[in-house]
Amino acid sequence: MSDIAIKVENLSKLYRLGEVGTGTLSQDLNRWWAGIRGKEDPFAKVGETNDRTSKGASDFVWSIKDLNFEVKKGEVLGIIGRNGAGKSTLLKILSKITAPTTGRISVNGRIASLLEVGTGFHPELTGRENIFLNGAILGMTKTEIRSKFDEIVDFSGVERYIDTPVKRYSSGMYVRLAFAVSAFLEPEILIVDEVLAVGDAEFQKKCLGRMQDVSRNDGRTILFVSHSMAAVKNICTTGLLMRNGQIELRDTADNAVDYYISNFINFNSDVKIDLTSVKRIYDHPRYIEYQSAEFVSPVENNFYSTKDDIAILIKIKSNIDCEAFRVSFSVNRNDESIVGVFFSEEIFSAKKGETKEIILTLKNHQLAKGQYYLCFAVGIGNEISGITEYDFVSQALFFEIAYKDVDKTQMITLWPSDWGNTNFQDVIISLV
């Protein structure tokens, strides 16, 4: 028996852009007629590679094209790449949610995929009933679930509520229970999308730990898609970097991540960004949405010093009457790891159609030398009541911490990565 778990050959997937609906019948008939005459599919004369930034001439686009790679047994492969690089499409094909257009994947072992936690959870059913339902959806038999039931409940930490309908759960409890079911799946090959981006930090750590255990101790093959370069470096043994539907690099996880950071992370010194038409990563309802963001007193190249205040003017528009909402932002390092977040109180209100301008000033940021970007969010709720986002824009503004002093004379030249992301400034030193 060979040691290959997954073998992907010439895999491609064609997607139709725009609205599917009108004209599909006539296209189908055309296609059928061409098929009968033994001609080629008249609508598949396509194909630009999947570069969403340039407008293509055809309505069809290759989401992934001619992928060839193998995954060995016991390998933990991190799949990375920008949004739209084809990572999700690849996972969907591997999980049999959609079929490839051409090519073939040969698999050795049972595959289970986790593209989302809690798929099929029914709000009216109790936690217990949902464990069985969700487990069965993920491919476990009733007997398997029953034998692991106690462990699942234990892992989730919601014993007390196990016979309560899950619609009464807090969102945290819901996610815990959902992940717990998935964590006890025991397939030979596990495919995980960014499901770890949910839940609190402690729970995330628990989940990452569980995944590591599974791959190390049981020798299971894992395919892991993530935007968190730190997580990929931590968990994965090898990496696959995708770009425009093709493989850019297949190497060790560390090398793939480093390559990605140095070649793919964009940095620009724009002072202002129009956010009205920027594509959002998540599917938030945008009841209140971002219009623009800009640095209030811009500095050259967006190079700030460790002592500068960073002030940002954000413009948001409300599409609903909202009595209380909050804004928040995060500072991320260029490897996409989050350095920190700020949540305002729910002190803002807006009438339908109203536009608000808000200045956020980050004082005494203590960021270490390096490139950063800002993400903005608007929504309701807080760390205690739970958070509902209305809009979220990633990588809106970029800046670099480069100087030691406000006058921008002393450039920081040395800051190895193992010194971390924080450069403490407020330390009181006193001799005793």
């Binding site: 598949a44 194909g47 090519g103 073939r104 069965a136």
Partner: protein, 300 residues
């Protein structure tokens, strides 16, 4: 560089290749063979089917005061309406049978068919988000609907039997039950499979052509009038009789009524015809359904 290429038909997999000798547990490919129905896969997920059934049953009646009693109320009220409208106002024939028993028999059978058909026909649309996130044999979904409607049917059959017994014990001499009652399970199976097949065809096609959902919504209502639910087949003559006989549900409703009430028409040929149609529809449905399930997330 010209990035435009023409899509070639997928190459045939070389089977003489030494590598193909390897035993893969699974191969994911663009198209499967027409008759590869994946029934073994469904069998592996049989627990899921039963859990779906349970979910349907529990979730429908949670937070209702009357709970499963609604299963009785709906056919009962429909029957009363029919007694008033079709029986007393329109004065349609009931073959001399008590109107309650006559209509209830038709409704019980028809309801099973109509409910199963309408709910299986929206399987892909209703579960698009779930189907887009995880793979399990999609067939489990319509199958679970057929089974959970069976539970509902059993309860409604109970209601019918109660009414039927009432008339029998009262000594009503228009009712003559006969041994064909033994065919009831067969009728239920044919009906279940027929609605499953039709439902699968519609659910597969509606992923692309939403128009069909509209068509089906009133189509089922209209079809009821082309089935002897509110009238006996014997009262229909002329060209429309052929139309009604072509409906595979006709013989099922008629046989059911003939078996329990002893009036109506029964012929093995008609029942055989329904069985034949059912198998053709079921086969067609499974093929189309399997075809669509592989790529429906792209078009839904």
């Amino acid at each position: 560089m010209d990035s435009t290429t023409t899509l070639k038909k997928p190459e045939q997999v070389r089977t003489h290749d030494s590598e193909a000798e390897e035993t893969w547990t699974e191969v994911i490919q663009p198209r499967t063979r027409l008759l590869e129905l994946g029934l073994a896969d469904v069998w592996r997920y049989r627990d899921l089917v039963m859990l779906f059934v349970r979910r349907d049953f529990v979730s429908t009646y949670k937070q209702t005061v009357l709970g499963p009693i609604w299963f009785f109320i709906q056919p009962l009220l429909t029957t009363l309406t029919y007694v008033i409208v079709f029986g007393n106002i329109a004065k349609l024939s009931t073959d001399g049978l008590p109107q309650m028993a006559f209509y209830l028999a038709g409704i019980t059978v028809w309801n099973y068919f109509a409910h199963t058909l309408t709910s299986t026909s929206t399987v892909f649309r209703d579960n698009a988000t779930m189907f887009g996130k995880v793979y399990f044999p999609r067939l489990t979904m319509p199958l679970s609907i057929v089974i959970s409607n069976l539970v509902r049917f059993a309860i409604q059959l109970g209601l019918f039997v109660a009414v039927w017994l009432y008339y029998l014990l009262q000594g009503n001499n228009t009712i003559h039950p006969n041994w064909l009652i033994a065919l009831t399970p067969l009728l239920v199976i044919i009906m279940g499979l027929l609605s499953l097949g039709l439902g699968m065809i519609f659910s597969a096609l509606t992923t692309k052509y939403r128009d069909l959902a509209m068509l089906l919504a009133f189509g089922v209502q209209l079809l009821m009038y082309a089935t002897p639910v509110i009238y006996p087949l014997s009262s229909i003559t002329g060209w429309s009789r052929g139309l009604i006989l072509a409906n595979p549900m006709t013989s099922i409703v008629e046989t059911f009524r003939y078996a329990f009430l002893g009036s109506g028409t029964f012929s093995w040929a008609a029942l055989g015809y329904s069985t034949g149609v059912t198998f053709v529809v079921l086969l067609l449905g499974t093929i189309i359904f399997n075809r669509v399930q592989k790529s429906f997330t792209d078009t839904v």
